[in-house]
């Protein structure tokens, strides 16, 4: 088919707009990275603004890692992310698998028990009081246990399990295999992609989470990375001090921002398709 003139113009407009979207998405991140890497001398020479630095300087990173709070907060965040995600996955699987069995007596009631909590919640203060009365305040568990299950993810995983062919379970039953073994040996190996998807959502959630720490943690030794980054960003710039240091506050702030987002940005391209899949399943069936 011959492409018309207007058709070509249309293509041009589409390409142009899409390029714009891509640039708008990536440019802020690139600018932040370059800000964090620009040597101070170059910043002064250019009046404070450099988009692409000629030389790279890691001084801002060295400076922020001199603060023991940053490393400590990273260890808190890594712990919460690893242990939290493991607990999330365990509980979510154990909830989703039985709920995906259509013959389970009381299934719809149990499902309702879970889904209602998506529609009505006791709210911030009562939840805080419960966490307080369990003596979880100011422990790392306050960052893990109150968010141990996300109902949305239970529903996503349940619909994954439901899509598995029924025959698998029947043949396993005849072999006399117990339910826990069926789950562990047959169902889970078949659902690796889906478990990964849900696990990644939980992981990113833990890495990015800061509000549960704002709520439940007052001990600064237990503050996760995002809270420390926030404190660094809120630090008022002290100009008198700044004249003497060799690294501008802005560069240090941006180094902190890059440090906190780097793991996600680096892993993201490899896991993107899982996220997309999970998002669609959740949106359609969740």
């Amino acid at each position: 088919m011959v492409k018309g003139k207007s058709d070509k113009l249309f293509d041009m407009v589409v390409y142009l707009l899409l390029t714009l979207v891509a640039v708008v998405a990536i440019f802020p991140i690139m600018y932040v990275v370059s800000m964090s890497l620009t040597p101070y001398s170059e910043v002064i020479k250019n009046g404070g603004f450099v988009i692409i630095p000629k030389n790279l300087s890691f001084e801002a990173y060295i400076r922020i890692f001199e603060d023991p709070a940053l490393l400590r907060s990273m260890s808190v965040t890594v712990f919460v992310t690893v242990v939290g995600t493991a607990i999330n996955l365990l509980l979510t699987t154990l909830a989703a698998y039985p709920l995906s069995r259509k013959g389970l007596p009381g299934r719809s009631g149990l499902l309702l028990y879970i889904v209602i909590t998506m529609m009505f919640s006791g709210g911030l203060i009562p939840t805080y009081l419960i966490v307080q009365s369990l003596n979880l305040l100011d422990t790392v568990w306050a960052l893990i246990v109150p968010g141990a299950i996300a109902t949305f993810n239970v529903l996503v995983m349940k619909s994954f399990f439901e899509s598995l062919p029924e025959e698998i379970f029947e043949s396993a039953k005849i072999d006399g295999a117990r339910e826990f073994r069926i789950l562990w040996k047959i169902v889970l190996p078949l659902s690796v992609p889906s478990v990964m998807t849900v696990g990644l959502f939980y992981m990113v959630g833990h890495w990015n989470s800061f509000f549960s720490a704002v709520l439940y943690i007052t001990d600064t030794n237990l503050h996760p990375l995002q809270v420390i980054i926030r404190n660094m960003l809120l630090m008022t710039q002290n100009n008198e001090l700044q004249a003497e240091v060799t690294v501008p506050t802005a560069a240090m702030q941006m180094a902190a921002v890059v440090t906190a987002s780097l793991p996600i940005i680096m892993v993201y391209p490899f896991i993107q398709k899982h996220f997309t899949k999970g998002m669609l399943l959740g949106a359609v069936k969740g």
Binding site: L18, A25, P98, G123, I125, L129, F210, Q253, Q272
Partner: protein
């Protein structure tokens, strides 16, 4: 598993219908065992807080706890206090306005992006744009706040640098009441533009391709095809998402507002959630904060249930 209803005689010879179910329950006991931790967790972290909302009708104090604190006089004291306070209209107005802006400026650009991606003939480009535009979704609000500082700060932001170089005055994007809502809406747009497009793109690729081919044979222009095939093809998805978002309109984005706001922008940026947080956990006025939280939860509940009822008409239900 056979699902036939079998009527069985138990040992004493009487015919019993109920024992069949109980037998099945016993057979499937492992499943209930699996569910046990989850049921307990929901009870503690979801249902106990629901019970805890009764402190909004009480004079809560720490030593007496949720159960033993005495009742407020009259029982609706804190609700009355809230409804009569000047905060009521301000908080409700801010919450609804911010939500509404986000709804409009969140959905429309995402729909347009999905259509653009669908119309893009260069597969490599489509893939790149998708990968890049989904990424901001995974950054935390703290990070996005940091990026906003880099661009919008009055003294050190890149935009303001450009403005002053062009001879204009710097604009206090992060610090002024005029700009605060745009800041919220804009940063959310940046975060979720691509991510929001995923679902529309999926809906577009579900449209019967023969429709496009037939239109092409008939000599329809691509704008006409978008208008007469693509948009009607995803109309149901758009309406469904619209309904669901209206159901969640009381949630204006707690974490985001919490990260971006400060006392100077309270008049335009303070939403119900942030006010509940400050009143309850900073001023220790637990009963009042819980009452306001309950007010929000109740409206939210009615909206969500209504939205789901409505959505069922369009898509046979969400659950």
């Amino acid at each position: 598993m056979s699902d036939q209803r079998v009527v069985k005689a138990d040992r004493s010879g009487r015919v019993s219908y109920g024992s069949h179910t109980w037998k099945k329950v016993w057979q499937m006991k492992a499943f209930y065992l699996m569910l046990l931790p989850c049921v307990i967790w929901y009870f503690i972290f979801k249902y106990l807080p629901m019970y805890g909302v009764i402190i909004s009708f009480k004079e809560y104090n720490f030593s007496d706890g949720i159960f033993f604190s005495r009742w407020a006089d009259p029982w609706y004291k804190y609700f009355k206090m809230f409804f009569e306070s000047p905060y009521f209209t301000q908080l409700l107005g801010n919450t609804l306005l911010i939500s509404l802006y986000k709804l409009v400026f969140g959905m429309l650009p995402s729909i347009i992006l999905a259509i653009l991606l669908h119309e893009c003939r260069a597969t490599w480009m489509k893939r790149w744009v998708q990968t890049l535009s989904y990424m901001p979704h995974f950054l935390s609000w703290i990070i996005i706040y940091g990026i906003s500082v880099a661009f919008l700060s009055e003294t050190t932001g890149l935009f303001n640098r450009w403005l002053t170089e062009a001879g204009m005055e710097a604009i206090p994007f992060m610090n002024s009441q005029e700009w605060f809502r745009s800041l919220l809406v804009g940063s959310e747009m940046w975060k979720d533009l691509g991510w929001g497009a995923i679902i529309y793109l999926a809906a577009i690729s579900g449209i019967d391709p023969t429709l496009f081919e037939a239109a092409r044979v008939d000599g329809a222009s691509r704008m006409r095809m978008i208008w007469h095939i693509t948009l009607p093809g995803i109309r149901n998805v758009i309406i469904l998402l619209l309904i669901l978002k209206i159901g969640a309109i009381m949630d204006a984005g707690f974490e985001q507002v919490f990260v971006f706001y400060h006392p100077r922008v309270y008049p335009v940026g303070d939403i119900i959630d942030t006010w509940v947080y400050r009143t309850g956990l900073q001023q220790m006025n637990f009963s009042l904060a819980t009452a306001v939280g309950l007010f929000k939860s109740l409206i939210g509940f009615v909206l969500v249930v209504g939205a789901n009822k409505l959505a069922k008409r369009w898509d046979g239900g969400i659950w």
